[in-house]
C-alpha cells in the first residue's frame, strides 16, 4: 500500500491545516483563514503564471476552507483549468473542487462540460471514470442535456472496461432520476437488462440500481429482468461462503448485490412463470433457513450482513403477500428478533412487523407477540425503539385486543416523550373510535386522553368526540354525566372545558334530574372555569349558556345577569361582545317557541372520514393509516362502527386546514340548517318583518327537485367536453340532434356567474324541461323560485356551530318547463366557491320529447382553476415561494406527449385562459413557461405556482405544479396536462 502523502504531499496544505488546528479561538481561525484567502487571491491574480502544482495546492486549500464552513467565491476558474491538466492528481483535485462547490454559472458549466467531453473521449478508463463521477456529482440539467445521450452508449459498448461500465451505470441513474425526459430510451435498454448476467460482480451491483429505477417507471419494458434477477439471486444464495471471493463479506456472499436484487424484485408482482416462481420461493426459503443456522462468525458484521438480506427477503415476502407459509415463517423470525439482545434488530423487527400486521395471512401471527411488544413499550431505553413499539401496537390492534392496547397506550402516555405524545394521542383516539363496541368506553377513553395529555389533544380529536356523541343518542346521557364529573376536578384542561361546555349545552338536560347535577349546579360549574379560559372557549361557553336558557328556563335570570355584565357586553373582544349582545337580546325578545326552534339540538353530522385519521396520515406521510384503511384485514369492523368508517366512495375528505366545527370562526348559534322554517324566525328576531327572503326551498319544490340519487351517470364524453372548457369560458358544451347547450361564464375571485343556453333544435316542443345542478360531493344547491339570494344570510352562516364543509354553492333559477321548437331558453347560475374541490358539479337535463323521456347528465364546466386570480411577481419572489413549497406532496408533476402542435403563442393563450399570470424573465430558459396565481375560495386561498417545459425535439412537455394543498396540485396538474 502506498504510504500516504508520498508523491503528492502538499506541504503548504499540511502546514495550513496545522495552523488552523492550532488556532486557540474562533477569531484566530477566521483571521488565519482571511490571511490565506488574501494570499491565494493575490497568487491567482498575480502576473506570474502559476504552475500546476501551485494551482492544485491553492485550490485544495480553498476546498478545505469551504469544508470548514466558510463561503468561497473564487477559484472556480483555476479549478476548471486543472481539469485539462495532463497530471492525474491535478485533474482529480479539479474535479473534486467542481463536485463539492457546484456552481450553476453557465459560462463555467460550458468549460467544465468541454473538459468532461475530452476525458470521456480519451479512452483512458481512469479519466473516463473521473468525468463520469463529476457528471453524477453535479447532476444538473445542463450536464444531462450535454451527456445523457452519450452515457448509455458507453454503458453498453463492448469495449468499455468494467470499471467504466460501473460508473456509467450509476451516472446514468443519477441523470435519469434528475431529468428522466433527457435520457433517451432505445435499444440500449434491452442490453442493460442483460448486464444482470455480467461476469463481473461489480458491474452487476452497479447495474441493478439503474435497472430498478428504470423498472419503476416502465415496468412492462423491463419485465425480462425478473427471471434474470431470480437466477442471479439463486446462484448467490446457494453459493458457499467463499465462492465469491472478494465479494464475500464476513462469510456472507455478496450481501449488497443480494439486497439490491431483492429490492428489484419488489417492483413486480410474483413471477407468473411457475419455474421462475419455484426457484424464487426456494431462494426465499433458503434465506429463512440460513437465519436458523449457527453463525459462521461472531463478528457483528457477519450477522448484520446476513440479516440485511433476511429483512429484505421479508420485505419481498410481504410485498407479494400471497404465500401464507412464508408470511408466517417471516413473522416467527421477526418474533425471535423482538427479544434479541441487539437493539438494532429489535428496532427493525418492530418496524418490519408493522407491515406484516396488515396482511390477512399473518395478522393473527403478529398478534401473538402482543405481550412482548407491550413490554418493549414499557422497558426499551431508546425512544426510537419505543416509538416503533407504539406503531406496531397500533398496527396489530383489532377488536379482540383493542381494550388492552388502548389502555397500555394510555398508560404509556403518562410518561411518554414529549416528541411523540401527539402522535400517540391521535392513535389512541382512532383506535378507540374504530373498535368501540360500546360508546361509553369511547367517551371514557377520549376524556382520559384529555386528562392525561390535554395539551397534545388537537382540535380534531375533541371535535370528533362531539360529532360522535351528537350522532349517537345511546351515549349522550352517559357523555353528559361523565363530562360533568370530569369538570369537577379542581384543575381540568381547557379542552375538557370545551368538550364539557358543548356536551352540557346539548345534552345537559339528560342529567338534570339528579339534584347533584341540577341545572344551576351545571351552570355554576361551567361558569367557574369561564374566567380562566381563552377567548375561543369563552365564546363556546356563551353559546352553551344561551342553550341553557332554552333547556332550563330556571337559569334564565342568572344567565342574563352574566350576559349583561359589563365584562361581557363591553368586552374588548368583538366576538365575545357580539355574542353577549345578541344572546341577551335573543333571550329577552324571543318567545319560548322561537327559542326552542332556534336553539334546537344539533342535527347529526354528515358521515365522513375521521379527520383524526387524516391528520395522522399527514403527520406520518402516506401509508401511515394503512393498517386502518385496510378493510380487507377486518371486514367485520365496518358494521360495528356504522357509517363512521371511512368509505372512500362516499366521503368527502376534509382538507387539512378544515375547521371541523367552524369554531375558529366561532359564529354563535343561529338556525340549524335542517329546520328551514327556523331561518325565517331568526330573521324576524334580528331584522324585523321587513326583510323576508326565502332562505330554504319551499316544501313543494324541495320534493320535486330530484335528489342526487335520481341523477344518472354523466355521459361518456362528459370528461372530454369538460376538458374543452378548462382554458375557456364560452362555447358549446353539448350538442345532439335534439338539443344544444351553450355556455357563457365569468368568474371573479371566488364568485362566478354562468349562463346556460338550451336550444331546442327540433320543431317540436320539449315538455317538462328541467335542468338541475347537483354536486356529486357535497354541493349546496338552492333551487329558488324567487329572485336569486346569496346562499346564506348575509349576517351569519346558517349553521349553529359553523358552516359545514361545503365546497361549492350553486344557485340556479328555474326555467320554463316548456321549450318551443326552435326556441332557446336561458338559465343563470350563481356560483360561489366555498373551498377547494376536485369534482365538477353535474348538470342533469330531463325533458319529454314527443312523449319519450329524455335524460342526460353532463359535467358543468366549473373547475377549480376558474377561481384563479393571476399574480404577478418578480423572479426572486417566485423562486423563494417555489422553494417554500418544496414538500414532495405539494408538488405534482406530469411528463406527457404533445397532442397538439407545439406553438408558443397557443400555449401562452391556454395558460392565460387557465387563469394564472404568465411570468416573463423568471425561467432561465426562455422556452419554458412560468405562471403564478391564487385560487380564491371563501374558506381559504391556495397559492399556485406552475412551470411548463416544452421539449420540441421529443414532442413532450413536463408540467410541474406546486401549491400549498396536495390534492389541488395534483388536480390542477391533471386538468392542465390535458390541454396541450
Amino acid at each position: 500500500m502506498p504510504a500516504v502523502s508520498k508523491g503528492d504531499g502538499m506541504r503548504g496544505l499540511a502546514v495550513f491545516i496545522s495552523d488552523i488546528r492550532n488556532c486557540k479561538s474562533k477569531e484566530a481561525e477566521i483571521k488565519r483563514i482571511n490571511k490565506e484567502l488574501a494570499n491565494i487571491r493575490s497568487k491567482f491574480k498575480g502576473d506570474k503564471a502559476l504552475d500546476g502544482y501551485s494551482k492544485k495546492k491553492y485550490v485544495c486549500k480553498l476546498l478545505f476552507i469551504f469544508l470548514l464552513g466558510h463561503d468561497i467565491d473564487f477559484g472556480h476558474m483555476e479549478a476548471v483549468n486543472l481539469l485539462s491538466s495532463n497530471k492525474y492528481t491535478e485533474k482529480q483535485i479539479g474535479y473534486l473542487f467542481i463536485s463539492v462547490l457546484v456552481n450553476s454559472n453557465s459560462e463555467l458549466i460550458r468549460l467544465i462540460n468541454n473538459a468532461i467531453k475530452n476525458d470521456l473521449a480519451s479512452r483512458n478508463p481512469t479519466f473516463m471514470c473521473l468525468a463520469l463521477h463529476c457528471i453524477a456529482n453535479v447532476g444538473s440539467r445542463e450536464m444531462g442535456e450535454a451527456f445523457a445521450a452519450d452515457i448509455p452508449r458507453i454503458l453498453v459498448a463492448g469495449d468499455s472496461m468494467d470499471s467504466v461500465k460501473q460508473s456509467a451505470a450509476l451516472c446514468l441513474l443519477r441523470l435519469y432520476k434528475a431529468s428522466p425526459d433527457l435520457v433517451p430510451m432505445g435499444e440500449w435498454t434491452a442490453r442493460v437488462v442483460h448486464l444482470l448476467n455480467d461476469q463481473h460482480m461489480g458491474v452487476v451491483t452497479a447495474a441493478v440500481s439503474l435497472i430498478t429505477c428504470l423498472c419503476k417507471k416502465n415496468p412492462d419494458d423491463f419485465k425480462t429482468c425478473v427471471s434474470l434477477a431470480v437466477s442471479r439471486l439463486s446462484r448467490i444464495v446457494s453459493s458457499a461462503s467463499t465462492d465469491l471471493q472478494d465479494y464475500t463479506y464476513y462469510f456472507v456472499p455478496a450481501p449488497w448485490l443480494s439486497v439490491k436484487l431483492l429490492r428489484l424484485l419488489q417492483c413486480y408482482p410474483p413471477p407468473e412463470d411457475a419455474a421462475v416462481k419455484g426457484r424464487l420461493v426456494e431462494c426465499l426459503e433458503t434465506v429463512l433457513n440460513k437465519a436458523q443456522e449457527p453463525p459462521k462468525s461472531k463478528k457483528v458484521q457477519h450477522s448484520n450482513a446476513k440479516n440485511a438480506i433476511l429483512f429484505e427477503t421479508i420485505s419481498l415476502i410481504i410485498h407479494y403477500d400471497s404465500e401464507p407459509n412464508l408470511l408466517v415463517r417471516a413473522c416467527n423470525q421477526l418474533g425471535q428478533f423482538l427479544q434479541h439482545r441487539e437493539t438494532n434488530l429489535r428496532y427493525l423487527a418492530l418496524e418490519s412487523m408493522c407491515t406484516l400486521a396488515s396482511s390477512e395471512f399473518s395478522h393473527e401471527a403478529v398478534k401473538t407477540h402482543i405481550d412482548t411488544v407491550i413490554n418493549a413499550l414499557k422497558t426499551e431505553r431508546d425512544v426510537s425503539v419505543r416509538q416503533r413499539a407504539a406503531d406496531l401496537l397500533y398496527a396489530m390492534c383489532d377488536r379482540s385486543n383493542a381494550k388492552q392496547i388502548v389502555s397500555e397506550m394510555l398508560r404509556y402516555l403518562e410518561t411518554a416523550d414529549y416528541a411523540i405524545r401527539e402522535e400517540i394521542v391521535l392513535k389512541v383516539a382512532i383506535l378507540a373510535e374504530k373498535y368501540a363496541v360500546d360508546y361509553s368506553w369511547y367517551v371514557d377513553t377520549i376524556l382520559n386522553l384529555i386528562r392525561i395529555a390535554g395539551d397534545y389533544v388537537s382540535e380534531e380529536v375533541w371535535y370528533r368526540v362531539l360529532q360522535i356523541v351528537t350522532n349517537r343518542d345511546d351515549v349522550q346521557g352517559y357523555a353528559a354525566k361523565t363530562v360533568f364529573e370530569a369538570l369537577q376536578a379542581p384543575a381540568c384542561h381547557e379542552n375538557m372545558v370545551k368538550v364539557g361546555g358543548y356536551i352540557l349545552g346539548e345534552f345537559g338536560n339528560l342529567i338534570a334530574g339528579d339534584p347533584r347535577s341540577s341545572p344551576p349546579v351545571q351552570f355554576s360549574l361551567l361558569h367557574s372555569k369561564f374566567h380562566l379560559c381563552s377567548v375561543a372557549t369563552r365564546a363556546l361557553l356563551l353559546s352553551t349558556y344561551i342553550k341553557f336558557i332554552n333547556l332550563f328556563p330556571e337559569t334564565k335570570a342568572t344567565i342574563q345577569g352574566v350576559l349583561r355584565a359589563g365584562s361581557q357586553l363591553r368586552n374588548a373582544d368583538v366576538e365575545l361582545q357580539q355574542r353577549a349582545v345578541e344572546y341577551l337580546t335573543l333571550s329577552s325578545v324571543a318567545s319560548t317557541d322561537v327559542l326552542a326552534t332556534v336553539l334546537e339540538e344539533m342535527p347529526p353530522f354528515p358521515e365522513r372520514e375521521s379527520s383524526i385519521l387524516a391528520k395522522l396520515k399527514r403527520k406520518k406521510g402516506p401509508g401511515a393509516g394503512s393498517a386502518l384503511d385496510d378493510g380487507r384485514r377486518d371486514p367485520s369492523s365496518n358494521d360495528i362502527n356504522g357509517g363512521m368508517e371511512p368509505t372512500p366512495s362516499t366521503v368527502s375528505t376534509p382538507s387539512p386546514s378544515a375547521d371541523l366545527l367552524g369554531l375558529r370562526a366561532a359564529p354563535p348559534p343561529a338556525a340549524p340548517p335542517a329546520s328551514a322554517g327556523a331561518g325565517n324566525l331568526l330573521v324576524d328576531v334580528f331584522d324585523g318583518p321587513a326583510a323576508q327572503p326565502s332562505l330554504g326551498p319551499t316544501p313543494e319544490e324541495a320534493f320535486l327537485s330530484p335528489g342526487p340519487e335520481d341523477i344518472g351517470p354523466p355521459i361518456p364524453e362528459a370528461d372530454e367536453l369538460l376538458n374543452k372548457f378548462v382554458c375557456k369560458n364560452n362555447g358549446v358544451l353539448f350538442e345532439n340532434q335534439l338539443l344544444q347547450i351553450g355556455v357563457k361564464s365569468e368568474f371573479r375571485q371566488n364568485l362566478g356567474r354562468m349562463y346556460l343556453f338550451y336550444g331546442n333544435k327540433t320543431s317540436v316542443q320539449f315538455q317538462n324541461f328541467s335542468p338541475t345542478v347537483v354536486h356529486p360531493g357535497d354541493l349546496q344547491t338552492h333551487i329558488l323560485s324567487g329572485p336569486a339570494q346569496p346562499p346564506a344570510s348575509p349576517r351569519r352562516p346558517s349553521s349553529p356551530w359553523g358552516s359545514r364543509l361545503t365546497q361549492l354553492a350553486v344557485q340556479t333559477k328555474r326555467v320554463a318547463a316548456q321549450v318551443d321548437g326552435g326556441a332557446q331558453v336561458q338559465q343563470v347560475l350563481n356560483i360561489e366557491c366555498l373551498r377547494d374541490f376536485l369534482t365538477p358539479p353535474l348538470l342533469s337535463v330531463r325533458f319529454r320529447y314527443g312523449g319519450a323521456p329524455q335524460a342526460l347528465t353532463l359535467k358543468l364546466p366549473v373547475t377549480i382553476n376558474k377561481f384563479f386570480q393571476p399574480t404577478e411577481m418578480a423572479a426572486q419572489d417566485f423562486f423563494q415561494r417555489w422553494k417554500q413549497l418544496s414538500l414532495p406532496q405539494q408538488e405534482a408533476q406530469k411528463i406527457f406527449k404533445a397532442n397538439h402542435p407545439m406553438d408558443a403563442e397557443v400555449t401562452k393563450a391556454k395558460l392565460l385562459g387557465f387563469g394564472s399570470a404568465l411570468l416573463d424573465n423568471v425561467d432561465p430558459n426562455p422556452e419554458n413557461f412560468v405562471g403564478a396565481g391564487i385560487i380564491q375560495t371563501k374558506a381559504l386561498q391556495v397559492g399556485c405556482l406552475l412551470r411548463l417545459e416544452p421539449n420540441a425535439q421529443a414532442q413532450m412537455y413536463r408540467l410541474t405544479l406546486r401549491t400549498s394543498k396536495e390534492p389541488v396540485s395534483r388536480h390542477l396538474c391533471e386538468l392542465l396536462a390535458q390541454q396541450f
Partner: protein, 148 residues
C-alpha cells in the same frame, strides 16, 4: 439511495460531507447542525437507526468519529450500517490504521476513496480489492506522470 453522508467528531466538528442530491448551501448547513445535535445527544447503547425528517438516519461511531448516513424510506438500514463499516475498512487499509487526523490532513483522499466506493448515492463496487486497486492505480499514475 443515500442522500448524504457526514463524518463528524464528538466535538461536533464536521470532517467530511458528501451530498448526493443537489441541496442549497444554506439548507446543508442547517441539516448538518440539526442532525449532529440529534446524533451527538444519543447514548452509546442506543440503536443505530432513527427517523429524521422524512429520512432514515444510520450512524455508527468509530473512536472519536461519527459516520452518519441519511437514506430513503425504502432503503435497507443494516446494509447501510455495513456500508459504513466497509468504508472504514477501506480507509484503514489505505492509511494503515486510520485515525481522525488522517482524514483531516488527507481529506481529499478520503473523498477519492468514497467516490470509488459509492456513486450518486449507490454502491458502485463492494470489493475491497477493486476499490483499493483503483486508488492504487491513481497513485501510481500520478507518480509516473510526475517522473515524465
Amino acid at each position: 439511495m443515500m442522500r448524504f453522508m457526514l463524518l463528524f467528531s464528538r466535538q461536533g466538528k464536521l470532517r467530511l460531507q458528501k451530498w448526493y442530491l443537489a441541496t442549497s448551501d444554506k439548507e446543508r448547513k442547517k441539516m448538518v447542525r440539526e442532525l449532529m445535535q440529534v446524533v451527538l445527544a444519543r447514548k452509546p447503547k442506543m440503536c443505530s437507526f432513527l427517523e429524521w425528517r422524512d429520512l432514515k438516519v444510520v450512524y455508527k461511531r468509530y473512536a472519536s468519529l461519527y459516520f452518519c448516513c441519511a437514506i430513503e424510506g425504502q432503503d435497507n438500514e443494516l446494509i447501510t450500517l455495513e456500508l459504513i463499516h466497509r468504508y472504514v475498512e477501506l480507509l484503514d487499509k489505505y492509511f494503515g490504521s486510520v485515525c481522525e487526523l488522517d482524514i483531516i490532513f488527507n481529506f481529499e483522499k478520503a473523498y477519492f476513496i468514497l467516490d470509488e466506493f459509492l456513486m450518486g448515492g449507490d454502491v458502485q463496487d463492494t470489493s475491497k480489492k477493486s476499490v483499493l486497486k483503483a486508488i492504487e492505480q491513481a497513485d501510481l499514475l500520478q507518480e509516473e506522470m510526475g517522473l515524465a
